[in-house]
């Protein structure tokens, strides 16, 4: 019976799509294998991300100056990968802040994100044994208007003069307004997002910027979540394979052989 199914499958298999199936199997096996490894071993090695050191320094400086840290996850809803990554980093920042006794202000664009952020910060304070220092009123919902939100955060910056602004998550056109005001009050600014357009602005308006995948890797590095670390590891291997395949492709093509590059084409 099983054999019959396999036979039917083979007969009707769309041969022109064989290369995609092979790529799929390679990617699938790697992802599966490394997530299992990560679960078994606890955590896989990921290189330290320099953006995280920068965040630490920024929080340290805010403490020295006795000023607040402003943190925002941007406009993203809770289910966005960038928002989830931001929450992992927030947990870490909150622990630092709790141990130093620095105020942490988080204006939120989305009520659900606000609730999660409060939970995350509360937990971090508890882990540091500083539950009594946790201030839920510093983590509040502002508005669901894009520019209204930016104007409100601007107001907070001008009034509170935080020493460090952390913009980690999903940002759209309002990123400009936030980073500009942050600059004018002389705060250290660190940003991280997966939006190409906003990255191009953040890089020149902030002191350090986590670019796309770096944000996700940073969150994996901090949380040790096997799902994330395992996937990153698998993707790293795929990047090696891709690089090698391309180099081989260039060599063969230069020699006038196109059998290799044809393996990758649409038929």
């Amino acid at each position: 019976m099983d054999l019959l199914i396999v036979q039917i499958f083979l007969l009707s298999f769309n041969n022109s799509r064989l290369n995609i199936l092979i790529a799929l199997v390679i990617a699938g096996l790697l992802v599966f294998y490394f997530i299992r490894e990560a679960k078994k071993k606890g955590a896989l090695y990921l290189r330290p991300i320099s953006g995280l050191t920068a965040i630490e320094e920024a929080v340290g400086r805010a403490t020295e100056m006795g000023k607040a840290v402003l943190y925002t996850t941007g406009l993203g809803k809770m289910e966005r990968v960038a928002t989830i990554a931001s929450m992992n980093i927030l947990g870490n920042v909150a622990r630092k802040v709790a141990s130093y006794g620095t105020p942490l202000i988080i204006p939120c664009y989305d009520p659900v994100v606000m609730a999660v952020a409060q939970e995350v910060v509360k937990e971090s304070f508890a882990k540091e044994g500083k539950s009594e220092a946790y201030r839920p009123e510093n983590i509040y919902f502002v508005t669901q208007s894009q520019f209204g939100y930016a104007a409100a955060v601007d107001g907070v910056m001008v009034r509170e003069k935080p020493a460090a602004n952390l913009f980690l998550g999903t940002f759209e056109a309002e990123s400009l307004i936030l980073a500009e005001t942050g600059n004018s009050i002389g705060a250290i600014q660190i940003a991280g997002t997966d939006s190409t357009i906003q990255l191009s602005f953040f890089i020149v308006a902030c002191d350090y910027t986590l670019i796309g995948e770096e944000l996700f890797a940073a969150s994996g590095y901090l949380s040790g979540d096997p799902k994330i670390t395992g996937s990153i590891k698998a993707q790293d291997w795929l990047k090696i394979f891709i690089t090698l395949a391309i180099i081989l492709g260039v060599i063969f093509s230069t020699m006038g052989l196109d059998f290799w590059s044809n393996l990758f084409s649409l038929k």
Binding site: F9, S12, F13, N14, R17, I20, L21, L24, A27, G28, V31, F32, I35, E79, V81, I84, Q144, F147, A173, L176, I177, A179, E180, N183, S184, T196, S200, F201, I203, V204, A205, D207, G212, E213, F216, K227, S231, A234, Q235, L238, K239, I242
Partner: protein
Amino acid sequence: MPLRLPLLVVSISALFMLVQFFVKANFLDSAYQEVLDWVQIIYLFTLWVGALNLIKLHAKKTQDKRQAFYSLVTLAGILLMLIFGLSGGKATGSAFNWVFENVQVPLQATMFSLLAFFVASAAYRGFRARSGEAFILLAVASLVMLGRVPIGNLISERIPDLANWILNFPSMAARRGILIGIGLGTVATALRIILGIERTYLGK
């Protein structure tokens, strides 16, 4: 309801789509079209949930004296469009189309044109060449800005050529690297979903 059921639905539907992609069989194709229809209809409901949540939010806000007026404006806007659209049709010349053309489109377009002002202000006060990298970014940006308008051509014919070269070679190469990276991320996430490892979308 056990958590298993949605996980099972996810895996089965994803595997079905994969099998349909790789196997040529007519009975799969008709089921495939059926599934695509379903997805469109279900997705429509998710968009409605978003709209209904917004209506709920503003309906609640009308209780709050300070915000009531603005929420009423929003609710009135919704109601007005529904009445116009569902009674008078949406053809050119209808009330519905009039509001769309003279209220919605200009408001939306103006909202985003504010960004020109913000960019100008940030250009003076926010964009700093504080590192070698940031300097390269700003230099390339200026070159591209000059190269893509007629005035750049007036200064030197080389500027548009160089801007074009940058877009087609170094910038393209970096973007291709990012694209492949994002592609791998997408595939890894989709695989985790199919394998039932990724459950964030279920609020887990």
